[in-house]
Subunit: 332 residues, 2 copies
DNA sequence: AACATTTCCGCAAATGTTTTCGGTGGAAAA
DNA sequence: TTTTCCACCGAAAACATTTGCGGAAATGTT
């Protein structure tokens, strides 16, 4: 019940000093093989396990990373988190996952919790209306490594790991061009995030050159807003309503699809759909949605690698961008 | 950069003892208001923050819970986790989330990590072929509170928080009866888990009494298996193939829906669908799937409450069951 | 004036580990 | 015999905090 083995207990059992026991368990060359064996045997017998509280205190290190996302829900971050966790675990690190629930206050609170718990590093994807940049800047300057991913800040000297925003949006735009669409409704997310700005600009940069296409851009803060906007657009007469809907994220896709289903329009004959997605959702629908994949797993691998780099040497901030590819469904 | 404030530094600045500073910051009555003010002011100025490593060591408590799930992905556990996290945070606890990825080895590894990091409690939903019961039993006996949720073990003296398995399945069966279905395909999950066993028994208990209904039960380990089985069933002639599909979980629903979409059959005229679900997925499809809701958020609240109870007094293990309700879509 | 009480604070132990520095005893080298 | 060296081990500081105990000074009571 209440007798966890400690170095002290082992040492007193064997008439050794605490330091000897500690070293024996760590295979320190100063300790004889004989002693090592005795110590290890007893430690195993007593099921000794180093007290991580004490180790953390002594080494000033917790082997824990904090990971902050708006929401772990809804398949947006699962593959990313899984990849980060796997990479972290292989290096002996644990992941503490915190959800901000799209609330800037909770986001700040979560950051403070990371600081308070003295995590060895922070991964963060910004939520809407995030005001966390100042705090993060402070933390970073006080020595806590921070890696932004996916939803990264527009400006500032930070480590960023994100998708090829421009490339994905450009690819989307050219794909839409190829299918000779006339009236495109483009659904974009939080207009304050770099991911949104970049994608929107790249998207428009291609489509605006084509005179034959009319493009409408809407920024929606969440799935429900996307549904409403799509609904409104689809209520128009056939000549007015869009014949194509582009969604820059899974979340918006959900909303758009609900509206489309509601409208009774057929995909892809009445209306076609293209999304930028992490890959799970498009396969759920019928027909499967054609999408530009932003590979969460690859992103996660890059993020953890970058974090470990930062932990080792103090390398300067870098923005890493991951290319994306088109995955064909039957929605276009 | 490298000057985090400590009690020692504050105390030497003010010519006070460490203990006085510590007590002043905690509003201990022994300390005069005057001293308290001075200490608090300087602490605020120096941005003092207690070193959680040291506090953990001293108090032998980390204010961290471990939460182990097969996968945080795919909306199965999001609302549950969110609820647990919120409840935990309100009491000053943090959540360390670990994914087992349906791998019993990783699951055991995650348990060891919880133990190693000396979490104050463990929430766990068992993955398939879990062999973790022995380990958990040991941990529990050594004083770590463990609360099982959702996928709980069939036998043993544990704390369990789960859905009303029988009730939900019974409700499902009666709903199917009411709609006068003839050939029912029931998709169930891992046959080793209590959730599966109970649901299957309750389901069959109702349907087997009705002679006019033929019921086929299949256990699928994952979404893909569900898709294949559904596909196979739907390939039969119209007289042979099921006119209703019941899925006991979101995961199976995904597989079943893919097969149904593939088949081109229309819901609900050609085939009707009913699921037991956490509530996110059914709303994605068109028509919206009718489902029996198993409220993850409510479950989470119960789980965290139970955990806190266990932390306080050493109350004996209890199985708590949450009732469920029918949410009408248009798939039946 | 003598004693009792309250107010306010410090000493030191304790939590478990890591690590620096040193020390013992014996064998080999001088 | 003395010195050197090596193999092996221990003492103690350090990490930052909490807390039981005791103690001095100030105030109150006879």
């Amino acid at each position: 019940m209440g007798h966890p083995a400690t170095l002290k207990k082992i040492s007193s059992q064997l008439n050794l000093s605490i330091s000897t026991v500690s070293r024996a368990l760590k295979n320190h060359p100063d300790i004889s093989e004989n002693t090592k064996r005795k110590v290890k045997d007893l430690a195993a017998l007593m099921e000794y396990e180093p007290n991580s509280y004490a180790v953390n205190l002594r080494l000033n290190k917790s082997y824990v990373f904090g990971l902050i996302v708006p929401a772990i829900s809804n398949m947006f971050y699962d593959s990313f988190i899984a990849a980060v966790e796997e990479g972290a675990r292989k290096k002996g690190y644990l992941l503490m996952i915190l959800q901000s629930g799209d609330d800037p206050l909770v986001e700040a609170e979560n950051l403070k919790l990371c600081k308070h718990n003295r995590v060895d590093g922070i991964f963060i994807s910004l939520g809407p209306q995030s005001g966390a940049i100042d705090l993060i800047n402070k933390y970073q300057q006080s020595g806590i490594p921070v890696v932004f991913f996916d939803k990264v800040p527009v400006a500032g000297s930070f480590d960023r790991i994100c998708m090829a925003d421009e490339e994905a949006a450009t690819l989307a735009a050219y794909t839409i061009l190829k299918y000779k669409k006339k009236r495109v409704l483009g659904l974009f997310g939080n207009p304050d995030l770099s991911i949104t700005i970049k994608r929107k600009e790249a998207f428009l940069h291609v489509l605006d050159k084509e005179k034959k296409i009319s493009t409408q851009i809407l920024c929606c803060r969440n799935s429900e807003e996307a549904r409403k906007e799509t609904d409104r657009a689809l209520l128009q007469s056939k000549a007015q309503r869009p014949d194509h809907i582009f969604c820059m994220s899974d979340e918006l896709l959900i909303g758009a699809m609900k509206a489309i289903h509601q409208s009774g329009l057929i995909i892809p004959t009445d209306i076609s759909v293209l999304a930028i997605s992490h890959g799970f959702l498009p396969g759920i629908f019928n027909p499967e949605i054609t999408y530009i994949e932003t590979n969460g797993q690859a992103l996660g691998k890059l993020a953890i690698a970058r974090m470990l780099e930062k932990i080792e040497g103090n390398s300067p901030p870098r923005s890493i961008i991951l290319p994306s590819r088109l995955v064909k469904g039957h929605s276009l």
